[in-house]
C-alpha cells in the first residue's frame, strides 16, 4: 500500500513538474534543440533543477541500507557502453527532434492534449513492441 502510494506520488509530482517546466510544449523542446536557430535555453534550466535535487537524493541513497518501503535497492548495475546504448540513444534523439516529444511529456499530455499525444504514444508503444520482436533477449 505504501509502495503504491509512493509510486503514484512520484508520478503526480513528475507530471506536475513537466507541466510547470514548459517541457510539455513540443515547440519549446524543439527550440532547445535548435541551436543554429532561435535557441530556447529553458530545457537547460529544467535539467539543472532536476539534477540538483536528484544529486542530493543519490547522496542520501549512498547512506541508506534499504529504501523506505522496500527490502533493497533495484538499480542498474551494468557499466557496458556498447552499440545498443549509443545506437538506441542516437535513434531516440532523432525521434525527439522530429516530434519535440520524449516519453514523459508525451504521456502527461494525454491529460491535456489527448489527440496528438495519443497518436504519438500509440506510435511509441508500437516502436517498443517492434524492438521486442527484433531483439531476442528483450522478449523475456
Amino acid at each position: 500500500m505504501l509502495r503504491a502510494f509512493i509510486a503514484l506520488l512520484s508520478g503526480v509530482i513528475f507530471g506536475l513538474g513537466l507541466a510547470i517546466s514548459g517541457m510539455m510544449d513540443p515547440t519549446r523542446v524543439r527550440g532547445f534543440l535548435d541551436i543554429l536557430g532561435d535557441w530556447d535555453p529553458t530545457l537547460a534550466f529544467v535539467m539543472g533543477g532536476a539534477l540538483l535535487v536528484m544529486a542530493a537524493a543519490w547522496f542520501i541513497q549512498r547512506r541508506l541500507h534499504t529504501p523506505v518501503a522496500c527490502d533493497s535497492f533495484s538499480l542498474p548495475g551494468t557499466r557496458l557502453i556498447d552499440g545498443q546504448l549509443i545506437g538506441g540513444a542516437a535513434l531516440f534523439g532523432i525521434g525527439w527532434g522530429i516530434a519535440g516529444l520524449c516519453p514523459g511529456p508525451a504521456i502527461a499530455s494525454l491529460a491535456t492534449n489527448f489527440v496528438p499525444a495519443a497518436i504519438f504514444v500509440a506510435a511509441m508503444a508500437t516502436g517498443m513492441v517492434v524492438h521486442r520482436l527484433v531483439t531476442p533477449q528483450a522478449r523475456a
Binding site: 512520484s10 517498443m128 524492438h131
Partner: protein
C-alpha cells in the same frame, strides 16, 4: 538577463518544474529503490516489458504523470503547447522514440536526470548522444524547410 537575450525562455518555471521532476525521482529512489525512468516504466505498465519493476509501481507512476498534468489544469491553468503540424511527424517521432528508448535502455528521465546525477558513465554517454542527435535532426529538418 536570460530573458533579455532569449525572450521566449522561461528560466524560473523551468527551474521550479525541473526541481519537481528531481523530487519525483528522489521519491522513487529513496521510497522504493528504483529509477524513475519514464520509457521503462511505460513499457512495464503496458506489459511490453515483462520483467523489472513490479507492475503496480510502473502502472501507478505512469498514471500519476497524467494526474499531475491534469492537476496543473485545475490548480494553475492551461498547459501551453504547440504540437507538430502533421500526424506523420507524430507517428514517425513516436515510432523512433519507442524503438530507440528500449534499445538504449532509457530516455531523458532515466538517463538524463536519474543516471547523469548518479554520474553513471552509460547515462552520460547516452544523454550526450541523444542531445547531439536531436540537435542534428532539428538542424537537418530546418535545412530541408520543415521547421515548425
Amino acid at each position: 538577463m536570460i530573458t533579455q537575450w532569449f525572450p521566449d525562455a522561461q528560466p524560473l518555471q523551468g527551474l521550479i518544474g525541473g526541481m519537481l521532476i528531481g523530487l519525483a525521482g528522489a521519491i522513487m529512489l529513496l521510497g522504493v529503490g528504483r529509477i524513475a525512468g519514464v520509457s521503462g516504466m511505460f513499457a512495464r505498465a503496458t506489459a511490453i516489458s515483462r520483467s523489472g519493476t513490479p507492475w503496480p509501481i510502473a502502472a501507478l507512476f505512469t498514471l500519476g504523470l497524467l494526474v499531475g498534468a491534469f492537476a496543473h489544469l485545475g490548480a494553475i491553468g492551461p498547459v501551453e503547447a504547440t504540437f507538430p503540424p502533421s500526424t506523420s511527424l507524430l507517428v514517425a517521432g513516436g515510432l523512433i522514440v519507442g524503438f530507440g528508448t528500449r534499445m538504449g535502455s532509457g530516455c531523458t528521465s532515466g538517463h538524463g536526470v536519474c543516471g547523469m546525477s548518479r554520474l553513471s558513465p552509460r547515462s552520460l554517454v547516452a544523454t550526450a548522444t541523444f542531445m547531439a542527435s536531436g540537435m542534428v535532426t532539428v538542424a537537418i529538418v530546418n535545412a530541408l524547410g520543415g521547421a515548425w
